[in-house]
């Protein structure tokens, strides 16, 4: 009897999935997911990277007694309060949307990726609790103790990035589960969490968070220095975050290469799309630039054998092209190829900036004197964010038409309810307003004198940032 009911329940879901939402609704759902994830990820990166840089600064302040560090840490903590609140609410929308938009995914595979999300919830608790204490108890705790209350925030931030990306990695390389008749019958939750894509993807993401936070923070002070504020406060405000970002960048390029090799091994169609490779080839070349016209990549610069070498470590390794794949099963090649080019290009540009800083520091123990350096730092934050978004476009658009690679199609995952378009329009409007408000508030915070100046600090005046 129970089995009968169950069978009815499961087949009841069948016809609706098969019919699917209309193409417009599917597009709306994807756009809404992309918008809210792409928005949240910027805040999340700041939420992961900024606390660490802030703590580092506060610690330096306690070690050296230099009041500038303390002021910087306080200012950043104040911005963090706003960023965390907005990051938390935008993340909450995401957890709703996993069900509102993709019930076909969550209703079946929710349990497979449940463990990392449950662990993530624990990390969020730790983060929120200690953030409350760190921000509000600054004057109540002894300096050392206050510093210590910040440590769990950093650890939990990195952990939550790990968990959530591990869940995403499972969607790229699904493992450790079995399905029968539309229901998951067995799962090894830990093995699913540590699937083949997890190590490279999570490390790459966490490093990206530190790059985004470091370059964005440094960028603010570069603008201020370009406007003539070149005192110690502003120099430190630039130097500390920039040093962190510059140390991370070379590692990021190496890890990116690792990520690409994981893609080559496990998601060959995605690799072909990233490279715009249509014919299966031995000794495949690397394509730089170019556009796909009529199923062919044109106007690209070819570097012979480079792709085979990079992906499989041998100049005459075989790389699968898209020609073996039915056109309906291919991701949109132009988008994926260009997103990949943009990410790699920006990554290399940021690497050059980091090297510039390192050389100057080695030679003269100082920032490069050129205004071009400050200009470059001023836009580096934007570049890092663009690289981040481009990377996610590669990952997520590159796995189309699958939501779970090779297992569940996007069209089967989406909510079959009509009218998702209206939801998307509404959500998009809210995000426009929210974006404007966040930008406005952050600019304000950078302009006014935020922290009540203690008597011993009153010689430091006029420390508007921009």
């Amino acid at each position: 009897m129970e089995d009968l009911v169950l069978a009815r329940v499961l087949t009841a879901a069948g016809p609706a999935w098969a019919a699917g939402a209309g193409p417009v609704d599917l597009a709306a759902a994807r756009s809404q997911m992309a918008l809210s994830l792409g928005w949240h990820i910027v805040l999340a990166c700041l939420g992961v990277g900024m606390p660490a840089i802030t703590l580092l600064t506060e610690w330096r302040g306690q070690r050296t007694g230099d009041v500038h560090y303390r002021l910087l840490a306080r200012r950043w903590a104040r911005a963090l309060g706003v960023l965390f609140a907005v990051g938390a609410v935008s993340g909450t929308i995401l957890s709703f949307e996993m069900g509102l938009l993709w019930p076909g995914l969550m209703g079946v595979y929710g349990e497979v990726i449940g463990l990392p999300f449950a662990l993530e919830a624990i990390a969020f608790f730790v983060e929120a609790i200690f953030l409350g204490i760190y921000l509000y108890a600054w004057d109540r705790l002894p300096p050392r103790a206050h510093l210590l209350t910040g440590v769990p925030i950093v650890v939990a931030g990195v952990a939550s990035a790990f968990f959530v990306v591990a869940a995403n990695a499972w969607m790229q390389t699904p493992t450790a589960f079995a399905v029968e008749g539309g229901k998951v019958v067995s799962v090894e939750p830990w093995a699913a969490m540590f699937n083949p894509a997890t190590p490279a993807q999570t490390v790459h993401m966490i490093l990206a968070a530190f790059m985004v936070a470091g370059f964005c923070m440094a960028g603010v002070y570069a603008v201020a220095m370009l406007r003539g504020r070149r005192d110690r406060y502003h120099r430190l405000g630039l130097l500390l975050p920039l040093t962190v970002a510059a140390l991370v960048t070379p590692a990021q390029v190496v890890v990116g290469d690792w990520a690409a090799r994981v893609v080559a091994d496990h998601q060959p169609i995605k690799l072909a799309a990233m490279e715009g490779l249509f014919r299966t080839e031995r000794g495949a070349p690397l394509h730089v630039g170019g556009v796909v016209v009529d199923g062919e990549l044109r106007y690209a610069l070819e570097i012979p054998y480079a792709l085979s070498l990079l992906a499989h470590g041998s100049p005459d390794a075989v790389i699968a092209g898209l020609d073996g794949i039915a056109p309906a099963d291919r991701p949109p090649v132009n988008v994926v190829h260009w997103a990949f080019q943009i990410m790699v290009g920006l990554g290399l540009a940021l690497l050059a900036l980091s090297v510039w800083l390192a050389v100057s520091w080695r030679r003269r123990r100082d920032l490069p004197g050129s205004r071009w350096f400050l200009r470059a730092v001023a836009v580096s934050g934007v570049a890092a964010v663009l690289a981040l978004e481009a990377g996610w476009v590669v990952t997520e658009v590159g796995r189309q038409p699958w939501t779970v690679y090779g297992v569940l199609r996007t069209s089967e995952a989406v909510n079959p309810a009509p009218g998702l378009v209206y939801g998307f329009v509404l959500v998009a409007l809210v995000y426009v307003v929210l974006t404007a408000a966040v930008v406005y508030v952050l600019r304000r915070l950078a302009r006014d004198v935020p922290v009540p100046i203690a008597p011993q600090e009153s010689d430091v005046t006029g420390y508007k940032v921009v």
């Binding site: 903590a77 957890s95 349990e111 919830a121 409350g132 939750p189 959500v427 009540p452």
Partner: protein
């Protein structure tokens, strides 16, 4: 207890914590809304902001906990609920954005017009969010969410009588809890006038919620007879009795100005309602879908529960420290803080 039951119980504990803590934060927004003009309501708003500020993010995580545990532990239920109740849940989600963002922005904005605009957004979304979440709960309780994807009526499912009562009850409970908690907070700051004001509100609000609950029972009788039967004569009866007694005791304690004790009884009254609903509906989660049919595989449940248990060892003392730190704070609310 078998794993599915333990998981459901943990989920319900999370839901209870969200209603008791997150709910009270929404209730604070309700009182912010009705606090009057910018000048007249200033003291009240300051108290509300001071009470919510350090803790709302931690309180809010209970909601995420509930959502995540739902898709981990009972995935088909999560999919059915979110797909059918797409509209109220989207509105609730937007309300959550408005509430959190406006609250954070208001604290750092200087001009009056901005504070008014943001304060208004904070307050209005504090009322709408629990309302929509309440209608969703009502839709589930009255069996209007069938299993499968978007199988229920996209509009009618959450506009039934039980949903409307659920929505009003959610707003009312939130306001009631907030008034009770704030009365004690105001007393601690030594502001007798404000304490009295919140006491009066708690009394009025308590009476309204009591009447609403009674009316809700009548609605259930017509709209969800099975749940009604369980509540009035079945397994769930003890919880209903607990709720009624604790509710009455709260009114008496408020009358006697016993502000610490009433925190406990007010919370118990709400706990009774929630667990009564849960008990009354168990083991059928959605029409034709029982807990056992919906539950995830045991390996997932075991891994999740063990992780949560380990996490709890870490979290409960930290949570305690957070609340303890800022409850003590109330003795000097005017001291400067890092963010003022």
């Amino acid at each position: 207890m078998p794993l599915p039951e333990i998981t459901l119980a943990v989920l319900w504990v999370g839901l209870t914590a969200y209603v008791l803590f997150g709910g009270a934060d929404f209730g604070g927004g309700f009182w912010d809304l009705v606090a009057g003009g910018a000048r007249a309501g200033r003291r009240q708003r300051a108290l509300i902001e001071h009470s919510i500020g350090p803790v709302w993010e931690a309180n809010h995580v209970w909601l995420i906990f509930v959502i995540v545990l739902m898709w981990t532990g009972i995935p088909p239920v999560f999919a059915a609920v979110t797909s059918t109740l797409y509209i109220p849940l989207t509105l609730a989600a937007l309300g959550i954005i408005g509430r959190g963002a406006a609250f954070a922005f208001r604290k750092v904005s200087a001009e009056l017009w901005q504070q008014r605009l943001l304060g208004g957004t904070f307050a209005v979304s504090s009322v709408l969010t629990p309302f929509f979440l309440g209608t969703a709960a009502g839709a589930i309780a009255s069996g209007r969410v069938p299993p499968g994807l978007a199988r229920g009526d996209l509009v009618g499912s959450w506009l039934g009588p039980t949903s409307l009562v659920g929505g009003l009850l959610a707003v009312g409970t939130a306001a009631y809890l907030a008034a009770v908690y704030l009365a004690r907070d105001a007393q601690r700051t030594g502001d007798a006038g404000l304490t009295e004001a919140f006491r009066r509100r708690a009394l009025g609000c308590g009476a309204v919620v009591g009447v609403l609950s009674a009316a809700g029972l009548l609605v259930l009788r017509a709209d969800a007879p099975r749940l009604f039967a369980e509540l009035t004569s079945g397994r769930a009866l003890p919880f209903l009795v607990l709720s009624v007694l604790a509710g009455l005791a709260s009114l008496v304690l408020l009358w006697l100005r016993s502000y610490v004790a009433v925190r406990v009884t007010a919370a118990l009254a709400v706990v009774g309602l929630l667990w009564g609903w849960g008990m009354g509906q168990y083991p059928t989660l959605l029409p034709g879908l029982t807990l056992r049919q919906a539950a995830a595989t045991d390996s997932v449940l075991a891994a999740t529960l063990v992780s949560l248990a380990v996490g709890a060892v870490l979290l409960l003392p930290s949570l305690w420290w957070l609340y303890a730190t800022f409850q003590r704070e109330h003795t000097h609310p005017t001291a400067p803080t890092a963010d003022q």
